[in-house]
Symmetry: C2
Subunit: 156 residues, 2 copies
DNA sequence: GAAAAGTATCTCAGTAGTAAGAAAGCTGTA
DNA sequence: TACAGCTTTCTTACTACTGAGATACTTTTC
């Protein structure tokens, strides 16, 4: 079967999408690492900082990690004294993750830096271009996520 | 320090970029997995299919993996009988990775499917939008990659 | 009010890598 | 030619997860 122009375009888009994301992620990871955090740990702190205490399951869905992964991340942050677990009063299976005083102080201090790092990393586009890119990527992500389920089901 | 509109935009862009890439990658990984391959293994086969035999170092830079990682990937593909190592006649340190007959047959068969899967995954955008997105993501990736080095150096 | 089904978290073995450094070989300079 | 310094690959130890199942609890259905 001959490769169509549509397919060529899709391949190229997939490649540049991957490269752009890898480059931006490397930036973000370098900033997190400079404070002794992985990107996953940073994401947990950030989510708790902006949303307040969250059930582990809510946190897990928010930062796109497996159920085993969220246990692992929260364990480590608990070990570092940045997060603690709190029992849920209405459901004894569930636990909240909550920032400790130190965790709160840390993320409050480094989040603005993180935003600046990202701003620098993304400054290859003008603000108008960034807005365009957000719109396109959002459409792309939504379609791919929805379609992914059908395709995965079809393949199995 | 107050969060500026520029920073908000950058944060939002970073988030949708990550989500879009994760959704597309999940698609691609599901397709590769349906043929018993990881995405890294698929990428090696694809690179060899389109470029011919490559030195391990060339392959490593092409698919954005560490030096240890390329050894690991080629080891596994060699174990599956899809790739073999060939000594380089002009540099005795170096080895080529080369598709075996089976590797060649496999990637020739599944690459067109892969292109179709990607085309479906990316069909949330029109062709014109895809072209716009490619331009924007390319600019983004190049800036971030270049800037990443300075920032990493600055942080260390 | 008991059984069945569903949900939330945790445990554990395995995976796909990374990073640092060793080993072997190449190359440019004196 | 000798050798310092650079490349190229491989090895080893480690990391940040994933996925399957286990456990404990809750909700639904009869």
């Amino acid at each position: 079967m001959a490769r169509t122009a549509r397919e060529d375009l899709a391949l190229k888009l997939a490649v540049v999408l991957g490269k752009a994301q890898a480059a931006v992620q490397a930036h973000a990871a370098a900033h997190a690492a400079s404070h002794g955090l992985t990107l996953g740990e940073f994401a947990v702190l950030e989510a708790l900082y902006h949303k307040g205490d969250l059930l582990l399951g809510e946190l897990q869905r928010k930062i796109l990690v497996s159920t085993g992964g969220i246990t692992y991340l929260v364990d480590r942050l608990e070990g570092k004294g940045l997060v603690r677990r709190l029992d849920c009063p209405t459901d004894r299976r569930a636990r909240y993750a909550s920032l400790t005083r130190e965790g709160s102080a840390l993320i409050e201090r480094i989040f603005p830096e993180h935003a600046e790092w990202l701003e620098r990393a993304l400054a290859g586009l003008t603000l108008a271009e960034q807005r365009t890119a957000i719109g396109l990527l959002r459409a792309l992500g939504q379609h791919a996520e929805a379609g992914g389920r059908e395709a995965a089901a079809e393949a199995s």
